[in-house]
């Protein structure tokens, strides 16, 4: 048992940390956020050149063949920089999904292009409540809601209820007839889109249902999301500690006050428990035993989600009025942590799923 990262892993993390510190400053990010697309294809190409788009793709397809641990390191490093580009969906979830759901030909055609950054592939899974996407005569109809980075996609992978009763996975080209994307910013400065499909042409990728493959890919994404959250929380706790040491009131640094010290200790407890669960999530997210995998990932998302809320809220509270300003990166960390808690199933969803499993186990025993 050891919790150390090896030399290659540390080098990878250093590369990304250096990129964020030098080339993805808060000012740079603000300019990208305020640009029309709200993200940067140029940055995407830089990431491709650094090799980080290739880490989740097998060597056979031009990738580096790394796994969830390396992904976690990269996501953690991106976390503090609040990357606006579609790394999680395009470089983590998409390759995992293509690998699991699509034919060898499809993999051979698309995975190398994902690795080089040429093509951005985005999964659109969650249906709009009132118009779930269905297959009708080989084409798709219905809507997907708040598709993360849907507007960046060169190729969409869309889940749909098929005539055969299964959940199918379809390749859809943005810009094709019957495909409408409404792209917009989200609370955390990232982008999302609503996808409307009106008898849209689509190519079915799976043979015999894709639900398991989609869930497995999303679980790999969830572990990566947990690592991102820990990266942001590390930065948030460090910045708040520093603020408490410098901000003077009543003639002394406010960090001398026990009420605030204990709040910081509580934040650290949340952070370390979240870090532990993000490690466990990385270990278990590619487990083929879906029940065991879900148990770990739900536990991880509960721990991380609760930490996100607690740390984000208290970091703003302890910064006082300054924590409320758009000027400070802290408020942007706050918003991203808020969004993370609500993504990939929120704390309540995962707590309920874990609890329901307890009831089932009890009945089985």
């Amino acid at each position: 048992m050891n919790f150390d990262f090896n030399e290659d892993q540390r080098a990878l993390a250093d590369t990304v940390h250096r990129f964020v510190a030098r080339d993805y400053t808060f000012e740079k990010r603000r300019a990208i956020r305020d640009s029309k697309p709200g993200w940067s294809r140029e940055v995407w190409q830089v990431l491709a050149d650094l090799g980080v788009l290739a880490i989740n793709i097998d060597e056979d397809y031009g990738g580096l063949g790394y796994g969830p641990q390396e992904t976690g390191l990269v996501m953690g490093a991106f976390g503090a920089g609040l990357l606006l580009e579609p790394y999680l969906t395009g470089a983590v979830v998409a390759p995992a999904l293509i690998r699991r759901a699509a034919s060898a030909d499809f993999q051979e055609e698309w995975l190398p292009r994902v690795a080089t950054g040429e093509t951005i592939v985005v999964l659109a899974d969650a249906d709009a409540r009132d118009a779930p996407v269905r297959e009708v005569g080989g084409n798709l109809a219905g809507r997907k809601a708040v598709v993360a980075h849907g507007g960046c996609a060169d190729l969409l992978l869309v889940s749909a209820r098929c005539a055969d009763g299964l959940t199918g996975l379809f390749a859809v080209t943005p810009g094709a007839d019957g495909v409408t994307l409404r792209d917009y910013p989200t609370l955390d400065g990232q982008r999302a889109a609503d996808l409307a499909l009106n008898d849209a042409p689509a190519v079915r990728l799976d043979a015999g249902g894709a639900r398991d493959a989609i869930d497995a890919a999303l679980d790999i994404g969830l572990a990566a999301l947990c690592a991102e959250a820990v990266g942001i929380m590390d930065a948030t706790v460090a910045a708040t500690t520093e603020y408490l040491k410098t901000r003077q009131q009543f003639g002394q640094p406010i960090g001398r006050f026990q009420a605030l010290q204990h709040r910081m200790a509580d934040m650290l407890l949340h952070l370390e428990q979240a870090r532990s669960m993000s490690y466990l999530a990385a270990m278990d997210c590619s487990n083929d035993d879906a029940a065991a995998r879900r148990r770990t990932l739900s536990a991880a998302k509960v721990t991380v989600g609760q930490a996100c809320r607690f740390i984000a809220q208290n970091a703003v509270q302890l910064h006082g009025g300054m924590g409320m300003t758009d000027e400070m990166i802290l408020s942007h960390w706050f918003k991203r942590l808020t969004a993370i808690e609500m993504s990939f199933g929120d704390t309540d969803f995962h707590l309920q799923r874990f609890a329901a499993n307890l009831s089932r186990e009890a009945r089985a025993a």
Binding site: F3, D4, T241, A265, L280
Partner: protein, 384 residues
């Protein structure tokens, strides 16, 4: 990063499991599994069984007769013992005074005391807290005045856990009342049979006799029973407080009690109630996270990278988890937790859930209250 135990560690786990299965008497196991207090004899019986296997000095290096385990092996040992319902180790001798004697005691003290701790021939208790010195331990007032080759000790110690069983007590006493409070303290080993030592029970809210007051009136203590130098006792005291780390989170015990909670909750149909099931789920998740956090601390400890303050994280979360489990067990049986010390009322498993809940409120108070632990975290780790 690799979160699995090594093949050697797994073999060791099997060995411990087999040993406990063979040697742990059913009567003791049944009591532990149901949260019943053990007698002195039962504790001693188990310690002797461990000693017979060469495992009497848990946490001790080989040179003092211990098994020389790594922190991870010790963790595995305690986890397996807890899971199987073995008594918790009586820590006052094994894990508190023994490491102090190994580090600071004279060879004569080491030879005199250590073997009898391992063999459970002598029971130790802790003379730290006083009525006026709890969290502010350095303000101890018990006075020791040198008279020839003896100290004469006067004062009162309190919260002395299982002092009623003890043969010896290690005490913080004030030898220099003029010095700044941390610098006038010495560390004495006192024979409980000495004239002038009186033990008075303190009955706690659960009706149990677990802690005591120890009164010291003109107790004569030979100079050779002082550990280390005069007025350096605070150094040894802090060493002792910081030493017991590997099992501070109580992961093994918490896992065993969680399993008991689930059995009781299932029997009561409470896991079909979403609100209750969510509370059980929450504590199980917290425990999963703490287990990994604990392994991280152990792993760092093995490589001598992180010294102490991280243990405060383990103490806070570990005690909160154990308290929550005891609270949920009580909740699970509803009114059946209320009859006080009544056998045969309600289901058997409900008999001591109310008192168990009351008893475990101590966890966040002793060993440095959880508020003191938060001071340590914010000041020592975060630098505030």
């Amino acid at each position: 990063m690799d979160l699995s135990f090594s093949p050697e560690e797994n073999t060791f786990r099997e060995e411990v499991r087999r040993f406990v299965a063979e040697k742990l008497p059913d009567a003791i196991r049944h009591k532990v599994m149901n949260g019943v207090h053990l007698s002195r004899e039962e504790h001693v019986q188990w310690q002797r069984a461990l000693h017979g296997r060469g495992w009497g000095g848990v946490g001790w290096p080989r040179e003092f007769g211990g098994p020389g385990w790594t922190p991870t092996e010790q963790y595995i040992f305690e986890e397996e013992c807890a899971a199987a319902g073995a008594p918790r180790l009586i820590s006052f001798g094994l894990k508190m005074i023994a490491p102090v004697l190994m580090a600071f005691g004279s060879p004569a003290q080491q030879q005199r005391f250590l073997p009898k701790i391992m063999s459970a021939e002598e029971w130790w208790c802790q003379g730290y807290s006083e009525p006026g010195a709890g969290s502010d331990l350095a303000s101890v007032k018990t006075r020791a005045i040198r008279e020839g080759d003896h100290y004469v000790v006067n004062g009162q110690k309190t919260w002395t856990t299982l002092g009623q069983y003890a043969d010896w007590i290690f005490c913080l006493v004030r030898t220099d009342p003029e010095a700044k409070k941390q610098s006038g303290i010495s560390f004495l080993l006192i024979d409980m049979k000495s004239p002038g030592v009186t033990v008075r029970p303190i009955i706690t809210l659960d009706g149990a006799h677990e802690v005591n007051e120890v009164w010291l009136e003109d107790v004569r203590v030979p100079l050779e029973n002082r550990v280390g130098e005069e007025n350096k006792g605070w150094t040894y005291a802090k060493f002792l407080l910081g030493h017991e780390r590997t099992n501070i989170a109580g992961i093994g015990i918490a896992k065993r009690e969680l399993a008991r909670l689930k059995r009781i909750a299932a029997a009561e149909g409470r896991l079909d109630q979403p609100l209750f099931a969510a509370k059980v789920a929450q504590v199980e998740i917290d425990l999963m996270a703490l287990e990994i956090t604990n392994l991280r601390v152990l792993s760092a400890e093995r490589e001598h990278k992180a010294p102490g303050p991280e243990a405060s994280i383990l103490k806070i979360k570990g005690t909160e988890i154990q308290q929550t489990i005891s609270e949920l067990m009580m909740q699970a049986v509803g009114a059946c937790a209320l009859p006080f010390k009544q056998a045969g009322v309600g289901p058997d498993y409900a008999a001591n859930l109310g008192t168990g809940y009351c008893n475990l409120r101590k966890l966040s108070i002793f060993g440095g209250s959880n508020e003191i632990q938060k001071n340590i975290i914010s000041q020592m780790i975060m630098g505030l």
